[in-house]
Structure formats: C-alpha cells, structure tokens
C-alpha cells in the first residue's frame, strides 16, 4: 500500500500539523513516511501545503506531481491541485470559501463542512482534525489507535490534555463526510 496525499490551504488552518499527525500515525504502525512542506514566507499567512506519503515499502520521491488524495481547504489550492488527483483518486474539500467547486468526474469527490463543525464543537482550532476525520472515513489508511498515538507524539506534552477534544473532532468529521461524486475504481 502506498498513499500519496497533498493537503493544501491557508497558513494557520493547521495544514502542516494535520500532515504531521498523519505521518506520525504511519510511523506508529511501522510504515514508511515522508512529510514535505511548502516553506518560507508563504507559510506566514499565505497558502500552505504539505505532501505526505505513507507506504509499506521504501519511498522513492518525496516530491510528487500527482496524488492519490488531495485535501483542499481554499480556492487557490483548488485551482492548483484539483488537476493533480490521479484518476480514481480522492478529492476532499471544505466548501467554506470555495467559489468554484471541483468539476472532475473521474475522481471521488467528498466534502466536509469543517469550519462549521469545528465551530459547533466549540473550538475552531479543531478544524483540521475534523477534516482529518473526514479523510479517514473516505480512506481508512491508518488505524484510529495509530492516530491517537500519532497525536501523542506530535503534540507537545503540555497540549496532551487536548487529545480527547481532537479525537472528538476526528469522530465528528468521520460522521459528517458527504459524498459529492463517486466513481467505481
């Protein structure tokens, strides 16, 4: 199994940390992982993206031009990455702020009202965990147990009290995933 993912949105949406938790979860279940971020000024308020690869075998290129899954959290990223999803792959997006929704018919398209759900949960910072939950529902590539361990590893000790809230957000995301377009693989 090899899963190649791009997560893209605004800086501050938790894009990089979502990728990090995913990568840690892969490590927790003995898989090979790479986590490759966009870096520099664009991290500071502009767009941010990270590609994560989780694989049972040695990973060759950490830098990719097409992906099994794209998680897209703003319009700029939609414009840039919709076309990079492999046919039959997955595009997951939050419709908040998306003016031009995805139009491809050869890929699985899902949406998650992450912004709204996180607000309903009472903590908008859990937004990225809601989206992560939705992704794991669409593609259960790592076990929830590994996600929990991944959270423990990637969050500093002083934030460990927030793990239950994060897990709750992941569950909410899993429950509220909406299919927009599904293709048979």
């Amino acid at each position: 199994m090899t899963e190649e993912i791009i997560i893209a949105g605004f800086g501050g949406q938790g894009v990089l940390s979502m990728g990090k938790i995913l990568a840690y979860s892969g490590v927790m279940q003995d898989q090979e992982v790479t986590w490759f971020p966009s870096y520099g000024p664009e991290m500071r308020g502009g767009t941010a993206n990270v590609s994560v690869i989780i694989s049972d075998t040695r990973i060759s290129s950490p830098i990719l031009h097409e992906f099994d899954t794209a998680i897209i959290l703003n319009q700029q990223s939609m414009d840039k990455f919709e076309k990079t999803v492999k046919p039959g792959g997955v595009l997951l997006y939050d419709p908040n702020g998306i003016v031009n929704p995805p139009t491809r018919t050869d890929i699985n398209i899902y949406k998650i009202e992450g912004t709204k759900i996180a607000a309903d949960l009472g903590n908008v910072k859990t937004f990225n965990m809601v989206v992560l939950g939705a992704y794991l529902k669409a593609k259960p590539i790592v076990k929830m147990e590994s996600i929990r361990k991944g959270l423990e590893k990637s969050l500093p000790e002083r934030h460990h009290k927030l793990i239950p809230l994060n897990l709750e957000a992941i569950e909410a995301g899993q429950e509220k995933l909406e299919a927009v377009n599904e293709v048979s693989v």
């Binding site: 986590w35 490759f36 950490p62 830098i63």
Partner: protein, 364 residues
C-alpha cells in the same frame, strides 16, 4: 538499535551533531536551514554534553569562529544556505589552507544572488570545484534522505579528521525541510583535553606544552618554494581521497541501457523515474554519487562501456554534466551524456525526467 524518530532533515543535523560529540556550532540564521541552530538552542546541549552553540553576527564570523575552534583541535561545525556559504568562502579557503578539520552544512537554495528560498542544487560547482580562492578541495557528501542527514554528520567529521580537511554536507531545502523516519545515532562522548592533546597535540593550538615547540595555525607562507610544497602535499591528500573515499549507490543498473545520474533530492526523484520508466518497458537505472568530491568516476566509466547513454538530472543548469562526461569518456568516449534539470527552486517531477530521457536519449 538507535532511537527511531520522525524528524526534519535540518533538525536531524542538530541532533546528530550533539550525539557525535561535537564541541561547538557557530551559525547565522538563513532560510531554509534555520532549524539547525533553532533545534540546537532548544536542546541546550551545553548542559547535556558541554557542546557550545553560538549565534554569530554573520556567516563571515561563523566560519572564522569555526576556524579558531577547529584550530584548537575541537570538533566544530557550521551550517548555512547558499548566499551564506558564499560569504563563508574566504574562511573555508583559510581552513583548507591551514589544514583544519571541520564540518560545513550547505542547505542549498536557488541562486544566483538572493535568488529564492526554494530548494536547489546550484552550488555543485562552488562545493566541488572551488568556492573560495586557491587550489583546495572539500570532501563533499550529498545525502538523499533524512537518515543520511544523520549518518553523514558523523561520517563528515570522520573524513575531515582523517584528512585534516573541511568536509561539507551538500544538501538542499527539500531534504532539510522534509520529515522522514530516522534512526538517530548512539551518543559518543566529546573528546577530553587529554585525548585532544594525544591525538592532535602535534598541530593544535591547545596551549603550548613544555615538551613541544609552539604550534602555529596559518595558511600563510611567504616562501614560494615552501608554498608550492604545501600545495603538492594538499594535492597528494586529494589524490588519496579520490582513491579511498569514493561513495556511490546504484539502483537497477545491472541490465540498464540508460543511466540517470543524480545526487541528493534529485536522486530520490529519479528512483521514482526509474520505476515509471521500467513500467513502460524502458531499461533504466540510476547512479547516485554520494561523494560529489571525490566523484565516482570509475563506476561511470564502467557503465559507459555497456550502456546507450547517461542523463544527469539536477536542480541546476547542468553543473554535473562535465564530470559525468569526463568519467564516461574514460570508458567509452562516444556514449552520449545529456542533461535535464529545473532551476529557480523548481523541483523536477519523476514524470518530467522520464519524458526528458525519452526525448533526449531514447528517441534522439
């Protein structure tokens, strides 16, 4: 078995430095390598191993602090990115001229000038052919994974001390910023003053001892005959490096008709290109130089006898091409050596590499 972590390449450089018994790090912030010093400062190794970490006023000062500390026999290093390495060029030349061991990490970004902060391999010439003034060479190691960022810190110091010559880890923003699994090295203790005196007392400025003449660290020699003999000694050293220190890796080269030659992050991309090409029925292999100096001439000459062509893949304008041409020419002077690369911080994709291979070599 060491300690398994998920870490950024830059963070690993810091961790590996602490663990290998490094005595001091002197640096100056520059994207995309600032995590090296940030990680060191957060780790506070002065409490743990006694390692000194100092943020200098400039790259110029950093490399000269390294020169001073290395002269006293201590195991010291610096890191920077391309524009900063240019500023260090003078100091690196002095260190090579004074025959001091040290480790320099270059997490390359695109140039020339201020260029871009995105990854690049455009300092190949600077690292392998010169950079500073005078006839000198650096031992240049090109890691292509976060694991090798760990491994090459220790290896770099080992080679630097073996030859009393600066060693460089030439990496780029992609490997520096990327996180991968890494098994960290076991801790090695820092050398004691007594050990330094026993091993390096013949040259180090560790304080004049009653049983020896005073030591002078200098690259200056006003007598041309003596300066020439210094140069000849350096050249002997470089020759020995070329004989003993060449490191490289091959990937599916046994039955290959076409060989990609790539180092560092480009080599990672090319591994995928090899898979893509093989899936199309093309017999393609990859040769990855691990030491850029000394360059793996012999394996390229050997491959040149049996393959139909080489494609160098680089994040620069083709700086490695002539090294591959020279090496391949020793085996078969008619074998074509072509280049594909991207510049300005753009990373070539595995698919682009296969397309270039088809256009420039297979269909040509």
């Amino acid at each position: 078995m060491g300690d398994l972590r998920l870490m950024k390449g830059n963070e690993v450089i810091a961790e590996a430095a602490i663990r290998c018994g490094c005595d001091g790090y002197f640096g100056y912030p520059i994207t995309p390598q600032s995590e090296v010093m940030e990680t060191l400062m957060a780790r506070e190794p002065w409490d743990e191993t006694g390692m000194v970490v100092l943020q200098a006023e400039s790259e110029v000062a950093s490399i000269n602090m390294v020169y001073g500390a290395a002269g006293s026999g201590k195991k010291v290093m610096t890191s920077s990115s391309s524009p900063g390495i240019s500023l260090m060029a003078e100091g690196i030349s002095y260190i090579a001229g004074a025959e001091l061991p040290c480790l320099i990490v270059n997490v390359q970004r695109g140039g020339p000038g201020l260029g871009t902060i995105q990854p690049s391999q455009a300092d190949y010439f600077q690292s392998t052919k010169g950079g500073g003034h005078g006839d000198y060479r650096l031992i240049v190691l090109a890691p292509s994974s976060v694991q090798e960022m760990n491994d090459f810190v220790d290896l770099g110091f080992e080679l630097a001390y073996k030859y009393r010559n600066p060693a460089m880890i030439l990496t780029d923003g992609a490997i520096g910023q990327m996180m991968e699994k890494v098994v960290l090295s076991e801790y090695k203790p820092r050398m004691t003053s007594e050990e330094i005196n026993d091993k390096y007392g013949s040259w180090a400025t560790n304080g004049k001892k009653p049983n020896r003449d005073y030591n002078i660290i200098t690259s200056l020699e006003m007598d041309s005959a003596k300066m020439e003999s210094n140069n000849l000694r350096f050249q002997e050293k470089y020759k020995q490096m070329e004989e003993e220190e060449v490191r490289y890796e091959t990937f599916q080269c046994d039955d290959a008709e076409y060989i990609l030659v790539a180092f560092g992050s480009s080599a990672r991309i090319c591994q995928k290109s090899v898979d893509l090409a093989r899936a199309k029925g093309l017999k393609v292999g990859l040769l990855r130089p691990i030491t850029l100096y000394p360059f793996p001439k012999k394996p390229i000459a050997e491959l040149a006898k049996k393959v139909k062509g080489f494609l160098t893949v680089e994040m620069n304008a083709g700086q490695m091409v002539e090294d591959v041409q020279l090496a391949a020419g020793c085996g078969n002077s008619s074998v074509p050596v072509k280049y594909f690369g991207r510049m300005g911080g753009i990373i070539p994709t595995p698919g682009e590499v296969v397309e270039a291979l088809e256009q420039k070599l297979i269909e040509a």
